[in-house]
Every structure is written in C-alpha cells, then in structure tokens.
Symmetry: none
C-alpha cells in the first residue's frame, strides 16, 4: 500500500469550498491544488480532469447533504421542528465561503451547458423526495409534493437575494414564512 499524503476526501472538501466560493470556471487547477496541498498533476492523477474533479465534488456534496442535512427528516420532533432544522443547517452552508450562497444553485446557473446537469438534478431530486416524504406525514401526497416544490423554489430565490445583499434576513424571513405556511391552506 503506497503512501497517502492527502486523502481524496480532504481534496474534495477543499475543492468544494473553492468551487462554492469562486465558481467552476473561475477556479483554477492551481488554486485547487494549492488548497488541497498537492501539485496540479497530483490532483489530475486522482480525478482525471478538472471536470472529473467537479463531478466527484458534486457527488461528495450530495452525500454530505444526505447524511448531514436531509437525514434530519427521519429524526425526531414535529414536522415544523425538523423542517426548521433542515433549513437552518442549509443556511450554515449558504453562509460559508464568503457568503457563497447555494453551491448547487450556483453551479446550475453557471454551468449552463449541462455538463454537470445530471449530478445537479440528482441533488434536487433527493432534496425534493426527502422533504416531500416529511410533509406527507401531515398533508395528502399530492399536496406534500407541491409544498416541497414551493419551498425549494422559495429557498433558492431567497438565497439569491442573500448572496446579492449579503444580508441574512432574506434567509430568516424565508424560514418564518415557510414554517407559518405549514398552518395555512394551500391553493393549487
């Protein structure tokens, strides 16, 4: 077994951070390599190409969300408590990296050519399924699905304004109206 100086996970973590903060195109392999603590060639040895690294980072990010954020949905507490916990956990990510906003939303809007579309869709589907399941404890299936959809849309729009103004009130207002909305009938 050869010497491993830098674990792949550490590379993914630092790369995620950089992509989040600076965007895909605007982050160079040099910066990625410096942050990971090895040379450019070493990075490519592990991931083949910058795009390959990005794919791995997206998968890593999805896994991170799954185990650290979305898992809350299957925990204890009322629906409102669990939903609040999920959203606030997400806000920690959103505020990281110089207020970088939502990593996945950034990537969706930047990489319009669709090179990473599959991975990004995967993220959305997992998020949506989890929250829909959570809301289905209280609402009929169809309504739960629509509510989860609207929360997601509201969330991404709010994060965009947070990123523009660097003002967290856009995030807290979002949580307030989301939780309050649970007690309001939905017209659809």
């Amino acid at each position: 077994m050869p010497t491993i100086k830098t674990t792949p996970e550490a590379i993914l973590r630092s790369s995620w951070s950089l992509f989040h903060e600076r965007g895909y195109k605007n982050t160079s392999l040099q910066q990625l390599a410096d942050a990971a603590g090895l040379g450019k060639a070493g990075l490519l040895h592990h991931f083949g190409s910058k795009a390959g690294l990005m794919h791995a980072v997206i998968e890593y990010g999805i896994e991170w969300y799954r185990t650290r954020v979305l898992s809350i949905a299957r925990g204890e507490g009322t629906i409102a408590e669990r939903l609040t916990a999920i959203l606030e956990r997400q806000f920690q990510l959103v505020q990281l990296n110089d207020g970088g906003g939502c990593f996945f939303a950034n990537m969706i809007l930047e990489t319009g050519d669709g090179a990473f579309a599959e991975g990004l869709v995967h993220f959305y589907k997992e998020w949506n399924t989890t929250v829909t399941t959570l809301l289905a404890e209280k609402f009929p299936a169809e309504e739960a699905k629509e509510r989860a959809y609207r929360i997601f849309v509201d969330y991404e729009g709010s994060v965009m304004l947070f990123k523009l103004y660097k003002d967290t009130s856009h995030l807290t207002r979002f949580v307030s109206r989301t939780i309050a909305g649970l007690e309001t009938p939905l017209n659809f």
Copy 2:
C-alpha cells in the same frame, strides 16, 4: 458624416446576448468582438475593459427592462392582467439564448466577488419598486411590498429550475400560482 458601422447599442445588444448565454467569465472578448462585428481593440476602445463593457450591458439591460417590461405596470388593464403581461414578457427573455434563464440572476450567482453588485442591486430595486407600486393599487403599502418581494423570490427560484430542466412548466406554474395568490390573503 462618416459611416457608422456598429452603433454602441448594437454592441451592447450582442454582448448582452452572449453574457446571458455563456456567463461573464466564460465569454471572451474575442467572442464579444466577433458578435459585435469589430475587433477586440475596437470593443475596448468603446468600453475601456471587459468589466466596463459588462457594466454598460447591465445598464442597458436595466433600461431595456424599464421601457419594454416594467412600463407595462403603468398601462391599462386589471392588476392581474398587467402582472401577467410583465411576467410573460420576462419569460421571453428567460427562454432566449439557449434557455439561458434570468440574465441578472445568472450574474448575481456567478460574479460572487461583487464587482457588479451595484448594477444588479439597481435592477432588483427598480423591479421591486415597480411591482410594489402596481400591487399597491389593490393592497396596503406594506402588504404590497411583501407580495412583490415574494413574487420576485418565487420568480428567480422558478427560473433556476427552468434552467436546470429546460422545462417551461416551471415558468407557467409560477404565473398560475402568482395570479391565484392575488386573491388569497397573505400571512406575514
């Protein structure tokens, strides 16, 4: 009177289109110049730098919105009619340039360093003021402001999903629930 080959406005129009479709960083001066029908040096002669061109494009975009989209608010018809007209006019832009989404949202999320934040804030403020004024015909001032805010957030989130899936149903569903929402009490 010498021949005018390329008017500044034509340059701004083609540049807007390119920035919209490909993003700021991912669009090169070469591409911008080709699209505008003059040399790179000619472009820079007019706008000083790529960033200078971008600033001008943002101003041009705001002006475009003002005269072509937001002006509808001060036209004739019911509130619902005028709001629908505004949103559908925006969708034309959103679907342009290979389904490029919202130019302003793209720029907000891509150019995280804030170099163009001022112009982008300017766009949001103008949009928000106009729609707030429109809704104030029917709702109290504070409620009108909150409703305009929520529509904007919902709009940007929906556009993001449209861009991810290249599916216009995300846009039509947004209009439906926005118009329907005008008849529903707002809890805030």
Copy 3:
C-alpha cells in the same frame, strides 16, 4: 498600417529550420517563438496553431523548392547539367540544420497520421512533374516518368543513409549513379 516587427516570411524561415532540425513533435512553440523573435502568443496570432504554422511552413518550403531548385529544370545546359544542378542544390538543404536530411521525407515519416499528408504529396508531385518534364527532353514520356520516379526513390533512400552516418559520400554516390544512369538503357 500597424507596426510589423517580424515579417511572416522570417517566421516561416526560422520555423522551417527548426522543424527540419528537430522534427515536428519535438519542436515546441516556445522554441519556435524564440527563434522567430516574438512570444508564443504572437506566433499563434499569425498562424492560429502549431499545426497551422506547420502547414504554412510546408507551403513555404514548396515555394522555396519551386523558385530556387526546380526552376533550374527550365534553364540552360544539357539535361545532365541541369539535373546535377538540381540535385546538388537539394544537397545544400539536406546538409543544413545539423545534417537534418530532407525536410519533406522527415515529415512524411514522422507525421504518419496524415495531418500534413496533402502538403507533402503536393511537394512530391511538383518535384516529380518537373523532373519528368526535364527527362522527357531525352526519353519517351513513359520512360521519363519511370526514371524520375526512380531518381526520387533513390534520392530519399540516400538522404536517409546520409542522415544516419552524417557522411556526404552517400549523396555524391547518388549523383554519380544518377547521371551515369542517363546513358544506360532502362529495363521496366
């Protein structure tokens, strides 16, 4: 009219020399640019790519042969005199650039993928046509064609041995037997 520091012809001349001496793959843009007296980006500004430069160099080499070597065929003197003059003029090129051999033969054998095959075929055809025409002054058309073909084959084989041994006797022996061969019947 902008300032021209380096004429395209000067670039082609220095590049030809380098490709001749070191081969296509083994010559870097850096070396080419240094030899031409401008930066890598300046080189590419003129020729688009390394392959584009190579194409231009091949055309330049063909033109050089046409005006400086093959033109002798339409000059004065006996057939033997003109043929000798042509071959000896070629030897000057062959011995240039550290005994680099025949530029065209080198490129044919190195760039086997056929990227430059068209230009190289062009060279051979022009050479062949010229020498065939020269020999047709003395021999029937078909025989002239066959003799030109054999001279070319013999020439390239001889140059290869010259390059291997760095010994010009391979070239002088080739001229001797070629000229002597003009007085010998051809069996074919």
Copy 4:
C-alpha cells in the same frame, strides 16, 4: 516460483509496435505501459527509462530481423527466390501498425539527435552484410556489396512513398525491379 504476468519479451513486442506506429517522441510511457499490461513504474523498473526501453526495443527488432527475415538468406532456393522472400517478409512488417513503414527508417529520421544512432547503424550493417553475402554467390565481392547497398537505398525510398500514399504498389514495383535488376549488368 512466482507468477510471471508480463514477460520482458511481451513488453518489447508491444512497445515495438507502438513506437513503430506512432514514433518515439509521440508515444508516451502511459501508452507503452497500458499496451504492456503493467504500470508506468513497472516499465521503468525493467528498462530504467524510456530511452532504455527504446534501446532494448531496437535490439529486439534487430534480433527479430536476424532470426525471422535475414535467416532466409542462408536457406534454400535460388538467389532471386531467397531475395524475394526476404523482401516480402519485410513488407509484412512495413504494412503492420497502420502502414507504419520501416521501423528503423522512421527512427533514423525522427531521432535526429543520434541518441539511438548506434543501434540503428547496427541494423543497417547486419542487413547489408547478409544481403551482400547472398549476392556474392552470383557476383564479384565488390559488385555484390554495391548491389546490396543500392537495394537498401531503393527499399527505404520505396517504403517512404508507400507510407505517404498508403499504396502497396510502391513496394511491389520495388521487388519487381530489384529481381529484374539481378539479370542486368551494373554500371558503377
């Protein structure tokens, strides 16, 4: 006794093939290693360096020629029969590897710096000695030597044209005139 996955000879065979097809500079250690079925480091473990591998390949190629091609000279049949057999055996090699031509000629013309000159000279000397000996059965020593020399030169020139045009008629015409030439007096 441990399992032998890759014999050195198998490595040399696959490497020969690659160098033949793609040239020395244009073949990477990665490709060599992939073709040989082991890692880059494994290859270097056996041969020290890429150049070391090349030296071994040249020796292997010479040995191959000796036992598989030139040995025919000491077999049975008329001189013309044996010479034809040798040349046609060579053509099989020439047409291998995507019509790669003569491996040794390619290397002579590509590696102009002379790093492998010794090995390549070795090949030529062995070929020349063998064919000279064969022809000495019919011609005086000096004439046999000259005839062998001319056949070699003619051969390499013909292979070059074959490689340029991917047309085997250049090879068959060469054999025809070589065999016919055995019955024609030589002027030298």
